[in-house]
């Protein structure tokens, strides 16, 4: 504990020391002091694997400046290898599988970029404490021992966590607050309210589809089922599996697996309610094949709700208000009814070094600067001051008038692997009052992600997991959009299929792995 306080203090002092330095002139920072005794005589080009579209905007200009500064500071420059979204899973994994030394830094995540499976496959370099202390000193000091422990696999540190960035990616419904008020609701706080809201929209706005869900993607099944589960039973999602069937029973008893999918009425109730929503026409008949863009439709007033997470609500509330004044977009978060909320896992974003990297030291140094130095940080996250952003009189990050479209004037590094609240600027285009009010509610009920210490190993149950994945992907969309003739019978069929696919064995294995760490 004392160590943790000490490291926090150190980080605080460093941050304090840096802010004034930055305020005067950026060049006043002496980076040789940052990495004492490190030899940087050889120039190094670092390749960084980042997911995202190849930017067509001003990113290259910003990258050139970044490289100038990096060369001056640590005699290195960065080259970004973008993994474009089209077929990104294949390309990302192929890039990891090559291990020919060309890739150095890798953006990763335990929940959506398979950080642990890839660690198990030998893609990443284990990092020693000395190495981190020497080449990544500020980051090392700012991350607590407890958090470093969560980044270990078989005793070695493999990931540098984005652990100092408040972000809520818990899911729920974004909804038109004005319609909800007209429907006599004081905000939406339950699934039943949501139904009332949809019915009101359906009855009073014939040109608006209550929720024009683009059900062709698979993500709704995961989020709606998981959302209902946490709302009605207080269960907690356990991440790191290829199929979202594993939940802790409740915040009070997180280390026993939930049996939501196997027994009880909760799942049946969900299927029945969704069937009634479907028949009432809250979404289109052919929802399962629709590929439209709900976010855009909501901006145009064509739909009244969208299912996504808090972070989306944060930006969209402001955007929609600008286009439809008075829209007052609200957010109904899944779990509200049972007051179940889990903070984002600190490895939701993380940086790893490639196992065969030619220059792991310099990669760590570059990362340390980008994560902790205000000049580097702002360049990567906001762009070039004066061109992409300026700090307005209230201290908010604002965009100049010439900045119209991120895809043209913006700078996009997709730096999701080490954002730092000490250096974050609040955006001028967010309704902070509403956001802070919601997060205050969150803060009152949230618990830390309870399973951070287990790195699940699914080798023994891989066959079951693949079969379960197929079963889930087959049944879940039908339940979720109320497409079964008889929802009760369909749930029974789903449960039987899960049993046949081996869910008992899978759950036993997962439970045993949890027990091994927590009991």
């Amino acid at each position: 504990m004392a160590k943790k306080i000490a490291s926090l203090l150190l980080a605080f002092v460093l941050a304090l020391g840096l802010v004034p330095a930055m305020a005067e002139t950026a060049d006043a920072v002496d980076y040789t002091q940052w990495f004492p005794g490190v030899d940087t005589s050889e120039h190094v080009v670092l390749t960084w694997l980042v997911t995202g579209n190849i930017p067509t905007n001003q990113t290259n200009e910003a990258l050139a400046i970044l490289n100038e500064k990096l060369t001056a500071a640590i005699n290195a420059e960065i080259q970004i290898e973008w993994i474009e979204w089209t077929d990104w899973q294949t390309k990302y994994n192929l890039a990891l599988a090559m291990q020919d030394g060309t890739v150095d830094m890798i953006g990763t995540a335990t929940d959506w970029l398979d950080a642990w499976p890839n660690t198990q496959k030998g893609a990443f370099l284990p990092m020693s404490v000395e190495m981190l202390q020497t080449y990544c000193p500020q980051t090392y000091a700012s991350v607590s021992q407890e958090h470093w422990d969560l980044c270990k696999y078989e005793g070695d540190i493999y990931l540098i966590p984005e652990d100092n960035y408040a972000q809520w990616t818990n899911h729920g419904f974004l909804y038109r607050g004005d319609y909800a008020a007209e429907a006599g609701l004081d905000g939406i706080h339950s699934w039943e309210d949501m139904g009332v809201f949809f019915q009101y929209v359906k009855d009073n706005y014939p040109d608006v589809i209550p929720w024009d869900a683009d059900g062709s993607g698979s993500s709704y099944s995961d989020q709606m089922l998981g959302g209902w589960l946490s709302s009605k039973t207080g269960g907690i999602n356990i991440e790191g599996f290829s199929v979202p069937l594993f939940f802790g029973a409740s915040t009070a008893d997180p280390y026993t697996l939930s049996t939501f999918f196997l027994e009880g009425d909760a799942l049946v109730d969900f299927a029945t309610l969704m069937k009634s929503w479907s028949e009432a026409g809250y979404w289109r008949e052919d929802v399962l094949n629709y590929t439209g863009d709900v976010k855009a439709e909501m901006k145009e007033g064509l739909t009244a709700a969208n299912q996504h997470h808090t972070q989306t609500w944060k930006t969209e509330r402001y955007n929609i208000e600008k286009l439809i004044p008075g829209s007052d977009v609200g957010f109904f978060w899944f779990g509200e009814e049972s007051q179940t909320l889990v903070s984002l896992n600190i490895t939701h974003g993380a940086l790893a070094i490639a196992a065969q990297s030619d220059a792991p030291e310099r990669a760590l140094m570059a990362y340390d600067l980008i994560r902790n130095d205000p000049t580097f940080y702002r360049l990567v996250n906001y762009g070039m001051e004066g061109q992409q952003y300026y700090v307005d009189e209230n201290g908010f990050m604002a965009r100049p008038d010439t900045y119209l479209d991120e895809s043209v004037q913006g700078v996009t590094f997709n730096f999701w692997w080490g954002r730092n609240d000490n250096l974050e600027l609040r955006s001028a285009v967010v309704d902070w009052e509403a956001y802070d009010a919601l997060t205050a509610v969150y803060d009152a009920v949230k618990i830390d992600y309870p399973y951070g210490q287990v790195v699940f190993n699914t080798d023994e149950i891989s066959v079951e997991m693949d079969n379960l994945s197929n079963v889930f992907r087959t049944y879940a969309p039908v339940i979720c959009f109320g497409k079964a003739e008889d929802p009760v019978a369909y749930v029974a069929e789903f449960r039987q299929a899960l049993k046949d696919a081996g869910i008992d064995a899978a759950m036993a294995s997962v439970q045993a792995q949890i027990d091994a760490v927590y009991k």
């Binding site: 499976p117 199929v243 008949e285 052919d286 399962l288 094949n289 590929t291 066959v463 693949d466 497409k483």
Partner: protein
């Protein structure tokens, strides 16, 4: 230069006899023909045979850091998920039946089109229609699925709107599995008939025109000419195309099925093929070894089928066989 080589060919009689004599002699005799095949032989060696040992990946737990041959051997484990799914029969049935429909209709209709086109005198009409028939081939599967959705979706589809205007009831195709074999085959044909027509049309133009003229002079009418001259000449092309397709009969067209059906599991009963199943099982569990295992399984089945089919063809008409 060429003549010199031809002359050298003639000196082959001087080659001393020995155990390897006949082989060496035959190699020499056919030197030019072998040389003409060399680019292809080298090409397939470099791009197909050289990586083939890597198929070993299907039997390993692939470790990125250790490479394919350093990874631990796990035997048949990567094949297990496909065989224990309980779906394999359904998947094989769907995959094979669709392929049979694609192969039969996808050859018969282009064959017919090519023959009919050949009957047309106006060359502008021939050219224009052939070009237009090729258009759908250029449209990617995603756009095709978007077009199909915009045509037949229940709420706002182009066709639904028309049907409703005339007071009809639009079927809900996206929840009727029975309709999809027809839709998918139609879409496939729509995209591929142009391509197939070109293949057969080229074969027809290869036919000696004097034969057709002679038949005309003899008073053969259109049907007779087709029946007795053109069709027999197309037989070898047809057989080759069929044989070729056999080898891939258990491989599905992922792009077409995945985009048209997507995650709509209401339709899986009639539309789920091996590829879409594998995608669903592995979509969030990225595993190169398992993917390779499925590919290997399909190849072996295809190989056996082709060996049998080619053997039969060879027995009946050796000229038509693939190898």
């Amino acid at each position: 230069m060429l003549q010199k080589r031809a002359l050298m060919n003639d000196t082959r009689l001087l080659v001393p006899t020995g155990s390897g004599y006949s082989l060496r002699k035959s190699l020499r005799q056919n030197r030019t023909l072998i040389l003409m095949c060399i680019p292809a032989i080298v090409f397939f060696f470099l791009f197909c045979y050289l990586p083939m040992p890597g198929a070993y990946i299907a039997f390993t737990k692939f470790n990125y850091n250790k490479g394919i041959f350093g990874s631990p051997f796990v035997g048949w484990k990567n094949f297990a998920f496909l065989f224990t799914s309980g779906q394999l029969t359904l998947l094989l049935r769907n995959t094979v039946l669709y392929n049979i429909a694609f192969i039969l209709l996808g050859n018969f209709i282009p064959l017919l089109c090519a023959i009919l086109l050949n009957e047309i005198q106006a060359s502008w009409f021939r050219k224009v229609t052939q070009s237009i028939m090729f258009l759908p081939y250029f449209i990617s599967a995603v756009l095709v699925s978007l077009l199909v959705y915009n045509m037949i979706n229940y709420d706002y589809g182009f066709i639904s709107n028309i049907v409703r205007q005339f007071g009809g009831a639009m079927p809900k195709y996206y929840s009727q599995p029975g309709a999809w074999p027809f839709i998918i085959v139609l879409v496939y044909l729509w995209q591929n008939v142009g391509y197939g027509t070109v293949i057969y049309f080229a074969a027809i133009t290869n036919i000696d025109t004097s034969m057709i003229e002679a038949a005309k002079v003899d008073g053969a009418n259109g049907f007779q000419r087709i029946r007795y001259i053109i069709l027999p000449c197309l037989k070898s092309t047809l057989v080759i195309l069929l044989l070729f397709a056999m080898g891939n009969i258990v491989k599905g067209n992922f792009g077409l099925f995945y985009n048209l059906v997507g995650g709509n599991s209401l339709l899986f009963g009639t539309t789920d093929i091996i590829e879409t199943y594998v995608y669903r099982a592995l979509m969030n569990n990225f595993n190169f070894s398992q993917g390779s295992a499925v590919g290997l399984f399909q190849s072996v089945v295809g190989f056996v089928i082709v060996l049998v089919a080619n053997g039969i063809v060879k027995r009946i008409e050796p000229d038509y066989s693939l190898f």
